[in-house]
Point group: C2
Chain length 254, copies 2
DNA sequence: GTCAAGTAATAGTCTGACTAATGAGATGGG
DNA sequence: CCCATCTCATTAGTCAGACTATTACTTGAC
């Protein structure tokens, strides 16, 4: 809930940029949540700009910048005479960093959670494989640092910190692929992990064998064993999937 | 180069929305290309808003909406007193639909092309597998329609149309996964295919066995054979990789 | 009933001013 | 001479109100 997190680790250049909160930021978030929570369903026409300005107590230029941002995320479309219309979910840019953060705060949405996890099952084993081929010493150090943090957090019983270190580990692994596309998917993977954490604390669940698997992963990468790394990651995700109650619907036939 | 394509197939809710060109759109594109082409390198501070308005001959509100869009794409960052600063490529949201389109028009950028293709090698075989498990009759019809179009285009020697039909085929396959994350990656896959087309026409290359492989793929999906579909897609991409001159650096050991 | 012209509603654009954040320089005390 | 503090200039952020362009709807003629 630390809205103005000033840790330099946050590399997402979206909202939450350092600095005092601005009118624009508040308005974007307010409108976005109204849409996400269903107060403004798909197809809903929101009030004319001038009316909406009065209602929100802001100027038209500030409102327009907010609407611009939501239009660029595919959530709104504006046409003269028609007004500004809420788009259906299918049109949203669900991998947008802000949208991922917002979705996490309101809407578990089983289908989306499943899609995120299934995407992880596809992408992360491949990422592990590529990391084993290309990771630099700096990449490996980043993963080791995250792993050490995971260990310390588990020893301390600090689940929150464990989750953050877990995310840091997986993002470091993505970075180690040197593939810009996978690196761009960091937000998606991070969100998937954060959601998984929320769901697992709801079941009073604890790390379990996850930690040792992360250790094995580092070993495989350090040993430059692509196949081994891929296999460990696949197993790691299988365990995570069971924890989530997502019996993965037969991605590999038995 | 049909800038205002009015075909209803374009589902991207980004720019290029139907309607007459607006001041805002022109300005975004103009600024974006200045950055992409390197006229405004990373770290460059662009002129104060008032000056820039004069230079571009537009009002400040129009400029600010343009800058807002580019900030949301991670290309710019603005701070009072400092000005508006061009961000390094690493901060850009490279999977943004607009950014993908723009990148394609100016910058082949070997590393990015390789990353795109490598991502295809990871995602598309899995997508083929999932499609074989879940594709509806409507999904299969869409793929068959695209395949028929590919065949006709090849017969007519129309490479441009062949490429468009090829893209339509792969997007239909992604849609058939019913996985929203993969569907969101349509823009990335489509761009990768469009770039591949541009590179292959530069080598005066023609479809070759690609067509029959797409046919096999439909057969596997219709037969509900996930493993078979995955294998066909893997082979299809291997051929495409050779055409591109990208000797894929050992994703699967021999 | 069909088609055309006119009208009203709305987003898009322009202008110009004021506010707030912030780095750099000036000022003062130690 | 060095350091903390204050002041100020610069710039993005916000506000206000007007005008323009687009387009659905209405009205009227045929």
């Amino acid at each position: 809930m630390s809205d103005q997190s000033n840790d330099p680790a946050t590399q997402d250049g979206s909202l939450a940029a350092r600095g005092k909160p601005r009118v624009y930021q508040n308005t974007v978030k307010r409108l976005a949540f109204s849409i996400l929570k269903g107060d403004f369903p798909a197809g809903h026409v929101l009030p004319p700009e001038t009316d909406l300005c009065d209602k929100l107590g802001i100027s038209r230029s500030a409102l327009r910048e907010s609407v611009r941002a939501l239009k660029d995320k595919g959530m709104l479309i504006a046409r003269p005479r028609h007004g500004t219309i809420v788009q259906p979910r299918s049109a949203w840019h669900l991998l947008d960093a802000d949208l991922l953060n917002w979705s996490m705060e309101v809407d578990p949405d089983a289908e989306f959670v499943f899609s995120l996890f299934e995407a992880r099952q596809v992408i992360e084993p491949a990422a592990a494989r590529l990391s084993a081929m290309r990771a630099t010493s700096g990449d490996i150090e980043a993963m080791e640092a995250a792993f050490a943090d995971m260990s310390a957090a588990k020893a301390a019983g600090d689940f929150q910190r464990f989750n953050e270190a877990d995310i840091a580990f997986h993002l470091a692994l993505l970075r180690a692929t040197s593939n810009v596309v996978f690196i761009q998917l960091s937000n998606m993977i991070g969100t998937a992990l954060a959601i998984a954490f929320r769901m697992s604390i709801a079941r009073a669940h604890e790390p379990g064998e996850s930690l040792s698997q992360h250790g094995d992963l580092i070993e495989m990468i350090r040993a430059r064993d692509p196949i081994g790394a891929e296999n460990v990651m696949t197993r790691l995700l299988a365990v995570a999937g069971i924890d989530l109650g997502l019996s993965n619907r037969g991605p590999s036939k038995s």
